[in-house]
């Protein structure tokens, strides 16, 4: 520690530890209205589209997307918990979480807060680690919340209709939770990469949404059927892999847009893991290499 004592008499102070920085980030996340809106919208939309609308259509005795009422009821029951809790993640959930990530990273530039954080002394990589870990924490909470919310609603429906409540096993639940978190984290961190690369929120969110909602769907639905190169390419897209992973976790058929088994579940998990790690590494590289001016 010779460097630390180069100037005699000056007390050496250190910056916050990683857990302390994670707690700082959790405080920021918890107090930010946008966090609650974006994280709350996904389970809410999830509930409406996987359970509420099918159940109402069953109650009215009408068929839903050409499926007879009894089969519609079956899709809302507890044995479909994992699929019903996660099916929104590849598409609208992804759009929301990408927006959240871009907002978190981008606004640090807009507000000039990144330099304030760094001025407190932590390494840039420690700041990123703290922010990613805090994001993972709230995403884990949100995935768990979606599972709990869906479970509660399914149990109510099963109870009201006297239908069987066959809950998925613990292993299936754990896989669902892990897979859901992987998809959510990949979207969130890709958003952070965009916000960091573009040093702002507006363009990052715009490009992210166009990618998730338009570009991927054009590649999958228009280009891939026509040209083989796009058919190969689509297997590398984050949205396609997210859809494939959720489809694998859900088991049965899920009719939510974006949930299509293009590749098998294991491959999808690996590709998403690579996106997650790559996005973190690239964000870290940008953060460490660039001037903050």
């Amino acid at each position: 520690m010779s460097a630390a004592t180069a100037v005699a008499g000056l007390p050496v102070r250190t910056s916050g530890s990683l857990p302390s920085i994670v707690r700082a980030e959790l405080l920021k996340l918890g107090r930010r209205p946008a966090t609650w809106v974006l994280l709350g919208l996904w389970p809410a939309l999830q509930l409406v589209f996987s359970l509420l609308i099918p159940y109402i259509s069953y109650r009215r005795g009408s068929s839903f997307e050409g499926i007879p009422p009894e089969q519609v009821l079956a899709t809302t029951l507890p044995d479909r918990l994992v699929g019903n809790a996660l099916s929104g993640l590849p598409l609208f959930g992804g759009a929301l979480l990408l927006t959240l990530g871009a907002l978190l990273a981008g606004s640090e530039y807009g507000w000039g807060t990144l330099k304030t954080l760094l001025a407190q002394g932590p390494r840039r990589t420690t700041v990123l680690a703290g922010q990613v870990l805090a994001l993972l924490t709230v995403l884990a909470g949100t995935v768990a919340f979606s599972l709990a919310l869906t479970a509660g609603a399914s149990a109510l429906i099963a109870g009201a209709e006297g239908a069987p409540a066959d809950w998925p096993g613990l292993g299936e639940l754990a896989r669902g939770f892990g897979g859901g978190l992987l998809v959510a984290a990949t979207w969130g961190v890709l958003g952070m990469l965009l916000g960091t690369a573009l040093r702002g929120t507006a363009l990052a969110i715009g490009l992210g949404l166009v990618w998730v909602l338009a570009v991927e769907s054009l590649v999958v639905n228009v280009a891939a059927p026509l040209l083989e190169v796009f058919d190969t390419l689509q297997r590398a897209l984050p949205g396609v892999n997210a859809g494939s992973l959720v489809a694998a976790l859900a088991g049965g058929t899920v009719r939510t847009p974006g949930v299509v088994a293009v590749v098998d579940g294991a491959q999808a998990a690996w590709v998403l893991g690579a996106f997650l790690a790559g996005a973190i590494a690239l964000t870290g590289l940008l953060l460490v290499r660039r001037d903050l001016s």
């Binding site: 000056l10 916050g16 700082a24 107090r31 000039g112 304030t116 760094l118 001025a119 903050l292």
Partner: protein, 335 residues
């Protein structure tokens, strides 16, 4: 390194002021520190030294490269060449012991003043106890629960300074802390700076307005276009004052003055002798003139304001708003 001013002759004879003796160890040393953006050299071979315990004014017109220099000291911007040492360590590695406010207070608008400090205290690794202490220092305890976004400019600036003080740093770097404030806000910040200096901290203060800092600083560096124009004590800078002498015969008087001071420091303007002297040299000038049988009818020291010195040094490439009219802002609920 030597700190002799390049363009300003240090007055000979007894020093007009007593600088901090013995010379304290340097807290900041830059050695030919340079930053280029593309082809533009924004900071150009800047070598200066800030000593322990002093209030150091870093002055220069807008765009002079002050903020860029401070960012390099904090490790936010990488130098193109040259080096900087802060608290005995390479710039950027010692950030943990430096409190800084660079280019405005960057804080979270949706968080209260207190929560902003809570976040930063966790980043800094200091206990929550410091939060109340710094809130008290900047006089924001009453408004600590309000969202930062609702603060007036003066309050924002003060919270930014509070954030810089969280670590109880030995070195405080403040970049234009009075920028954009109204006169009341400026005087609040100035009082705060006096208190910091009184606590024995080393303070580096940048400004494009000399009047803001001349009464606060022990020493100043003046930069323009990224280059160091002068580094000296405020007194030495001001000591470049003029001694205006009315004397007959004028040419004899001029010859005597040239012999005494050298040709560079003597000029004749409007029938009077203009001498560049420090106040301590007045008596010697008078004696020499009288001894040479010159009638001295008037002898007055025109102490220039630092503003004048500054304008002369920066030679018109300064983009200086008049000191007397700082940007006016409405003060929404300040205090």
């Amino acid at each position: 390194m030597t700190t002799a001013p390049e363009t300003v002759g240090r007055p000979t004879g007894p020093a007009p002021t007593v600088p901090a003796t013995p010379v304290a160890e340097p807290v900041v040393v830059t050695d030919r520190l340079t930053k280029r953006y593309g082809k533009r050299t924004v900071v150009d071979a800047l070598s200066l030294e800030v000593r322990r315990g002093e209030v150091f004014g870093f002055l220069g017109p807008n765009g002079a490269g002050k903020t860029t220099t401070l960012r390099m000291l904090l490790g936010l911007v990488r130098p193109t060449s040259g080096s900087a040492t802060v608290l005995g360590r390479p710039a950027g590695t010692s950030v943990a012991e430096v409190g800084a406010l660079v280019e405005g207070p960057g804080l979270y608008p949706y968080l209260s003043g207190r929560d902003n400090l809570r976040v930063l205290a966790r980043y800094a690794g200091v206990g929550a106890g410091r939060i109340d202490a710094v809130l008290d220092t900047v006089d924001l305890t009453d408004r600590a629960g309000d969202r930062f976004g609702t603060y007036s400019l003066g309050m924002k600036q003060r919270l930014g300074i509070a954030a810089a003080l969280l670590k109880d740093p030995a070195l405080v770097v403040l970049d234009e802390p009075t920028n954009g404030l109204d006169p009341a806000g400026i005087s609040e910040v100035r009082g705060l700076l006096r208190r910091l200096a009184g606590e024995g901290r080393t303070v580096v203060l940048s400004s494009h307005l000399l009047g803001e800092v001349e009464h606060l600083c022990d020493r100043v560096a003046v930069v323009a276009s990224g280059r160091l124009l002068v580094e000296s004590t405020v007194e030495d800078l001001r000591g470049l004052g003029r001694l205006v002498v009315d004397a007959r015969p004028l040419d004899t008087a001029a010859a005597v003055a040239v012999r005494l001071l050298g040709p560079d420091r003597v000029s004749v303007v409007d029938g009077a002798l203009h001498l560049q002297t420090s106040p301590g040299e007045t008596a010697a000038v008078n004696r020499a003139l009288v001894l040479a049988d010159v009638d001295v009818t008037g002898l007055r020291q025109e102490a220039r304001t630092l503003e004048e010195v500054f304008l002369q040094l920066t030679d018109g490439d300064a983009d200086l708003p008049p000191d007397a009219a700082p940007a006016r802002r409405t003060r929404r609920g300040d205090r």
